[in-house]
């Protein structure tokens, strides 16, 4: 058991910084409301260190407060550090364990036009000096680009017998990404393709956990490179005995 709390400048002091807006006019009463609100949230010793009117009906607050909540770090699951394979190791692994090129299809779906992320993973030149999947000799990579309807992605994946499908979703306002990602999984399931395809979601607001909840094999967020994705795919394929 390892009791975990935030650290300001002393172990377990529980200090956190917050900022937020309340839809009330800036006044002593608003400041009092901010304090009461934070106590209601469960924080103790809140200190409004700054408050300012955003206009006649809104007030902005910067606050420092203490949280007394504790979680047990020992029970938190998650990798301490994931060991990824390198470009060469991945190609070698595919040759040895799978014995043929693997087929990966990627797209930015729905009305989302943010291709920089999926391009970073797939295009030749890659990202931050990490080559993209197109450069991997043992990967046959198809990048369908922006604004690809889920149906079109499914059709293409079937056509090329994709081993893995990579979906990028960047716009998340009103949870539009959730709807989009869910629809795709349902399509794959309806067409009985879900089991033979590794489905991977990615984007700045996508996490491993979220993607899995939506029915994907995994998800990748900011800071992802092609080798991370490729490592996951090939290990998964090997695990499932796909060849």
């Amino acid at each position: 058991m390892n009791a975990l709390k935030p650290y300001g400048d002393t172990l377990n002091d529980g200090r956190m910084q917050l900022s937020f807006t309340l839809p009330v006019p800036c006044s002593p009463r608003a400041r009092e409301a901010a304090l009461q609100y934070l106590r209601k949230v469960g924080l103790t010793d809140p200190q409004v260190v700054y408050s300012e009117a955003l206009d006649e009906g809104f007030t902005f607050f910067v606050v420092y407060a203490t949280s007394d909540a504790v979680i047990d770090y020992d029970t938190v699951k998650g990798a301490e550090k994931i060991e990824y394979m390198s470009f060469d190791e991945i190609n070698e692994f595919i040759k040895e364990k799978i014995g043929r090129k693997i087929v990966v299809v990627g797209a930015c779906t729905g009305f989302d036009a943010h291709t920089v992320g999926i391009d970073a993973i797939m295009n030749m030149k890659g990202y931050n000096h990490h080559f993209g999947l197109e450069r991997y000799p043992m990967v046959e990579a198809y990048n369908l680009g922006a604004q690809v309807p889920n149906e079109a992605l499914l059709d293409f994946a079937r056509e090329v017998s994709a081993d893995a499908v990579l979906v990028s979703q960047v716009v998340t306002q009103k949870d539009v990404h959730i709807d989009n990602l869910t629809e795709l999984v349902e399509l794959f399931e309806a067409e009985n393709l879900r089991d033979r395809t590794i489905l991977i979601a990615g984007g700045p607001r996508i996490s491993d956990r979220l993607a899995m909840e939506l029915g994907y094999d995994t998800g990748f967020g900011p800071g992802t490179y092609a080798e991370h994705v490729a490592t996951f795919i090939v290990r998964k394929m090997a695990e499932r005995g796909i060849s």
Binding site: F60, A113, Q147
Partner: protein, 521 residues
């Protein structure tokens, strides 16, 4: 010319004449073509701007009826129906919504058409003139309370009523310009939605009613603080000319409008875009609306250090095409951006060089300077520092319009507090470093001067290549933003028509008259 960067004037002139060379074939293509959206814009200018029960705009219903007659110009059928039925435009608009067929009546003689056109154009022209004068008067009245650069912020909640709250707050905080960002993919809609809307993703639908609601809110808020607040939307996408028309009618003050953005970033057909762009710019020029070009977009996909010259090249083309549409420099809000990787050694100097270069090449344009976006991360504090230096460059190089960077750029469309912090940051820097730009000079043969010269040289080189291949082929080969678009590909090509010899468009005629023959009062 101001020679703070020691630029070679000949190179600038060479670049301009290359842009002229590049624009030449575009101009002649535009002359000979119209599009469904130009026609719809024309109908809307005449007052056909209702919708049916399903929300389909009457302008679209009309074009559907007239699809074979586009080469002749849709206007004569609308005017014909008005003459024949004796209805007012408002009555006819409702009738079309209920299924009335514009072409069914046949056409009266050209004299009657011309008379009807003259009457309606004059009426609407009056509205446009009133709008223009009102704006000029208000700006004049409150000039000393404006900031320099003008503070431009976006609202993007997706809900026009929520947008209004956000807009009021920024006026209170000191913003000069409010842009209502459009919902994702509105550019791909081949119609302009109708009415007030509350459901958008990453932005709010551009509709005439939404324009009205926001215009009113900004006028009220502006009166309260004694400033004229400019309203911005997008004359961009498949409905570019229509939105330009609606914006002119509802007294918008600026329009995002670029000659290549739609082609490259939205895969809209190149011919469609260029023809639409021309008409839109004539409308905006007449209405005294500043356009904002979209060169910042190049740098979100390409590297800003490597591809700095593509920005200048595109601005020169945008400038030429704007001149061709009768738009003076003072309405050309050419775009550029602060998008270099903050990890670059001396990146600040390169940004300064780029911004000063563009300032010197376009001394009389109201340049629009875009903030860091691509290199913003979830570290909102680091982002705030980045925005601080961006604001400094904007002020030092005398930009006119500065879109304020948001510390949460990488996270969500702005919260109310995000904009407040952005405005505070800009106001602080503008005042605290007010005269820094004038108080220093760039060392001869220093990093800044050398970088500016290099970007100018590369621009000329690049424009030579484009001029050699022609713009259509250059886009086809992916010379811009590394994106390849084929001449017959992309959305909306089927909406482009060659004009018949009897093509007639009274609005086009009026605009040309006004813009090129001094007919504008």
């Amino acid at each position: 010319m101001n020679t703070r960067l020691g630029l070679n004037e000949d190179r600038i002139q060479r670049a301009r004449s290359l842009a002229e060379e590049i624009a030449h074939p575009v101009r002649s293509y535009i002359e000979r073509h119209t599009t469904v959206s130009v026609e719809r814009a024309t109908l809307r200018l005449f007052g056909l701007d209702g919708c049916d029960e399903e929300g389909t705009p009457t302008a679209n219903l009309a074009l559907h009826q007239l699809r074979d007659k586009v080469p002749h110009g849709a206007a004569r059928y609308l005017l014909g129906a008005l003459v024949k039925t004796g209805m007012t435009v408002e009555e006819l608009d409702r009738a079309v919504a209920e299924g009335f067929d514009l072409a069914a009546q046949g056409l009266p003689d050209q004299g009657a058409l011309e008379a009807k056109a003259a009457e309606l154009v004059a009426r609407v022209r009056h509205t446009l003139d009133t709008n223009r004068e009102y704006r000029l008067q208000k700006i004049d009245q409150h000039r000393e309370r404006e900031h320099s650069p003008l503070l431009y912020v976006i609202v993007a909640t997706g809900n026009i009523y929520e947008d209004v709250k956000q807009a009021r707050a920024v006026v209170y905080q000191g913003a000069d310009i409010v842009a209502v960002i459009r919902t994702t993919a509105q550019s791909l809609l081949d119609y302009v939605p109708h009415g007030a809307t509350t459901e958008g993703f990453g932005g709010t639908y551009a509709t005439r009613e939404n324009f009205r609601i926001m215009r009113k809110a900004l006028d009220e808020a502006g009166e309260k603080v004694g400033r004229y607040i400019r309203l911005v939307n997008y004359a961009s996408g498949l409905c570019m000319p229509e939105i330009a028309a609606l914006g002119a009618l509802e007294r918008l003050d600026m329009m995002l409008n670029d000659s290549m953005y739609g082609i490259l970033f939205r895969d809209i057909n190149m011919y469609r875009t260029l023809v639409d762009q021309h008409f839109s710019r004539m409308v905006s020029a007449y209405a005294d609306i500043v356009i904002n070009t979209g060169e910042d977009n190049y740098l979100t996909t390409s590297d800003a250090y490597e591809k700095g010259y593509t920005v200048l090249a595109s601005e020169l083309i945008n400038e030429r095409l704007a001149f061709d549409a009768g738009m003076p420099s003072r309405l050309q809000g050419l775009g550029h951006a602060f998008e270099m990787d903050p990890a670059i050694e001396n990146g600040f100097l390169y940004e300064l060089a780029q911004a000063a270069l563009i300032r010197e090449v376009f001394p009389s344009c109201p340049l629009k300077y875009m903030p860091p976006t691509k290199h913003m991360t979830g570290n909102i504090f680091a982002g705030y520092a980045l925005n601080t230096l961006f604001n400094l460059v904007a002020r030092m190089t005398g930009q006119e319009i500065i879109l304020l960077g948001m510390l949460t750029e990488a996270i969500h469309t702005p919260f109310m507090q995000d904009r407040f912090l952005a405005i505070q940051n800009a106001l602080y820097v503008f005042k605290n470093a007010a005269s820094l730009g004038e108080d220093i000079s760039f060392r001869e043969n220093g990093i800044i001067r050398r970088r500016a010269a290099e970007v100018l040289d590369k621009t000329v080189e690049f424009l030579e290549i484009v001029a050699g291949k022609g713009i259509f082929e250059s886009i086809n080969q992916g010379l811009f933003a590394d994106i390849k678009r084929s001449p017959s590909g992309g959305k909306g090509f089927d909406g482009v028509y060659e004009k018949a010899p009897d093509y007639w468009n009274p609005w086009e005629n009026m605009l040309k008259e006004a813009l090129f023959k001094g007919g504008k009062k």
